[in-house]
């Protein structure tokens, strides 16, 4: 059981508060989705949580250890981080990119040890990339590339995963396949904190929703407790109809307010 707890995270840039007093927890077997409009501070929250950005106050603790005191490698062995996707600099092979997930375990490309090679193979298989393993990443589709990045995060075999918009710019089928992969990781005992823009997708896959606006976490709870038409108005400024039936939540956005 691994637990990440953050208390009172606050980040200022040029005297503007990007994040104020964010407090949250993430445990094993839990999928938490962060929802909020653009500029709500979602990415800043993730970066603060991981100690990647200077904070005015607050601390985040993983298994009793302050993240600020961990070296980047120590942190990376506890939490995988999947930032918003940036193009890869070189046309590496799929296997090499996935192998970079083993960086914190000391793996060097082309000379993987047994344990590392095993973890990489497992991740490639879990993400359905076996057929693509030796392909160059510069001629993959967006959906395939998203799976490669996710496999890279899986290969690290960390107890926790933090992902920033892992399904952005993907078609519905690929959104579902990535969400499935995250769900499987969590059902296998991992804990995941994921920024999403698709509210219905989040409601379907997440155990808890974390609602953000103007640098603050305004609500934190199960989809049932927190996903309402009022919330949609309050957070996104849209008029939406929210219905719960046997197949889950149906969120229909009618108009912008």
């Amino acid at each position: 059981m691994t637990e990440l707890t953050a208390t009172g995270l606050s980040v200022n840039v040029d005297n503007v508060a990007l994040l104020s007093g964010a407090t949250l927890s993430l445990g094993s077997g839990e999928l938490v989705a962060i929802l909020g409009p653009n500029g709500a501070g979602k990415t800043t929250l993730l970066r603060a949580l991981l100690g990647l950005t200077p904070m005015v106050s607050g601390k985040s603790v993983v298994d009793g250890e302050n993240i600020a005191d961990l070296s980047p490698m120590q942190r990376a062995r506890r939490i995988s981080y999947l930032p918003q996707q940036r193009p890869l600099a070189w046309p590496n092979s799929v296997r090499d990119v996935v192998s970079l997930g083993r960086f914190a375990h000391g793996a060097a490309l082309g000379r993987l040890g047994n344990v590392d090679a095993h973890a990489v193979d497992d991740a490639i298989e879990a993400c359905n990339l076996v057929a693509l393993a030796n392909r160059r990443t510069d001629n993959l589709s967006g959906g395939e590339l998203a799976r490669v990045h996710f496999a890279r995060a899986l290969a690290a075999q960390t107890p926790l995963l933090v992902a920033d918009e892992p399904v952005a710019a993907l078609d519905p089928r690929h959104q579902l396949s990535i969400s499935d992969l995250i769900r499987r990781y969590v059902d296998g005992g991992g804990g995941a904190l994921v920024v999403l823009h698709e509210v219905s997708l989040a409601a379907r896959f997440a155990d808890r929703l974390l609602w953000m606006r103007d640098g603050r976490i305004v609500a934190d709870g199960s989809p049932k407790d927190t996903l309402t038409a009022e919330r949609m108005r309050d957070i996104y400024g849209v008029d939406a109809r929210v219905e719960l039936d046997n197949e889950g939540f149906d969120v229909r956005i009618k108009s912008a307010l």
Binding site: P72, R77, P83, G110
Partner: protein
């Protein structure tokens, strides 16, 4: 061909090229005489030709190439751009400018380390400036433009020094720096500069794993556990030491740091870490061969190595730039 086989092939080719460089020249010498001279069992004349003229010159070309090749590969990994190179980024020009200063004021001859140390200081200043800018500037294109600016400024300052040269001797000294050459280098020169080059390459070699991680971009690289600050410092220090010392030994020789890694990359799965050593070897090999060519070409005045490198390298730079499918930023 895998990375290790490529490395083996390049080592063999480099040894052959160095042997050829010791054999070929204006005084015809059979290979057996060269071998005898290398092992000290030959006439005094042969010994001088091999040990004091050809070998140090060939080794200087190799060492300078290795320094520039490794620096180029490392800077390309750090900045995630195949066009990054000590020459293009203005590191070579800044180092030459610093070296030219010592020639201008005639202090280069007072202490054998004056010129190397100032040249290394110039290179370190330039690489540090670039790395600091890289932290604030996300666009690699902007960064390369910064290098172009740095280069232009160093060239302008150098023109000023040439303009104000106190006497024809320092003027010709300085022009030699601008052109770049390994002619008349001695083992003494190598002894002074090679340790800095070795230290620089060693630093780059030890930090090479981080270059692979940077393939993912800086954010994801720190996500997988890379200490970005330390990585930047290592590359700045390594490339600065190696390039600065290379400039001290041979003056400004451009583009070899772009061309060699570009040729190597497809053989090493485009991994910047695995391209480091082969790039150093190939760049060394290229300069040794180019220097043999420079010596054998029947021109009135001997061609300068830096001139030839630029004549071949600049079109190659343009070619690589045009070939890029997309600019990632």
């Amino acid at each position: 061909m895998t990375a290790s086989r490529l490395t083996f092939f390049l080592v063999v080719a480099s040894i052959i090229a160095l042997a050829a460089a010791a054999t070929l020249g204006s005084t015809p010498m059979e290979f057996s005489r060269v071998v005898a001279a290398i092992f000290g069992r030959s006439s005094a004349g042969d010994m001088i030709v091999v040990w004091e003229i050809r070998l140090p010159r060939a080794l200087a070309a190799f060492v300078v190439g290795a320094a520039l090749g490794a620096s180029g590969a490392a800077l390309q990994g750090l900045l995630r751009n195949p066009l990054a190179e000590p020459g293009v980024l203005g590191v070579t020009a800044t180092a030459s400018l610093a070296a030219t200063f010592t020639l201008y004021y005639g202090v280069a001859s007072t202490w054998p380390y004056t010129l190397p140390v100032s040249s290394i200081a110039g290179a370190l200043a330039a690489t540090a400036l670039l790395a600091a800018a890289a932290m604030r500037i996300q666009s690699v294109v902007t960064l390369i433009l910064l290098g172009v600016g740095l280069s232009s400024f160093a060239a302008a300052a150098m023109s000023l020094l040439l303009n104000l040269a106190p006497n024809p001797f320092s003027l010709s000294d300085m022009i030699n720096w601008l052109l770049g050459s390994v002619a008349n280098r001695s083992f003494e020169d190598l002894k002074i500069t090679a340790p800095f080059i070795a230290a620089g390459i060693a630093i780059l070699y030890l930090s090479r794993r981080g270059l692979s991680a940077l393939t993912l971009g800086e954010e994801a690289a720190s996500g997988v556990g890379l200490n970005l600050r330390r990585q930047r410092i290592a590359v700045v220090l390594g490339a600065g030491l190696a390039t600065g010392a290379a400039v001290a030994l041979a003056g400004a020789i451009g583009f070899v740091g772009i061309v060699a890694p570009h040729i190597v990359r497809p053989f090493v799965n485009h991994d910047p870490a695995r391209s480091l050593v082969p790039s150093a070897l190939l760049a060394g090999l290229i300069l040794v061969v180019a220097d043999i060519g420079v010596r054998l070409l029947p021109t009135n005045a001997e061609l300068k190595l830096g001139v030839v490198a630029a004549l071949i390298g600049a079109p190659a730079f343009v070619w690589i730039a045009i070939q890029r499918r997309a600019i990632h930023d």
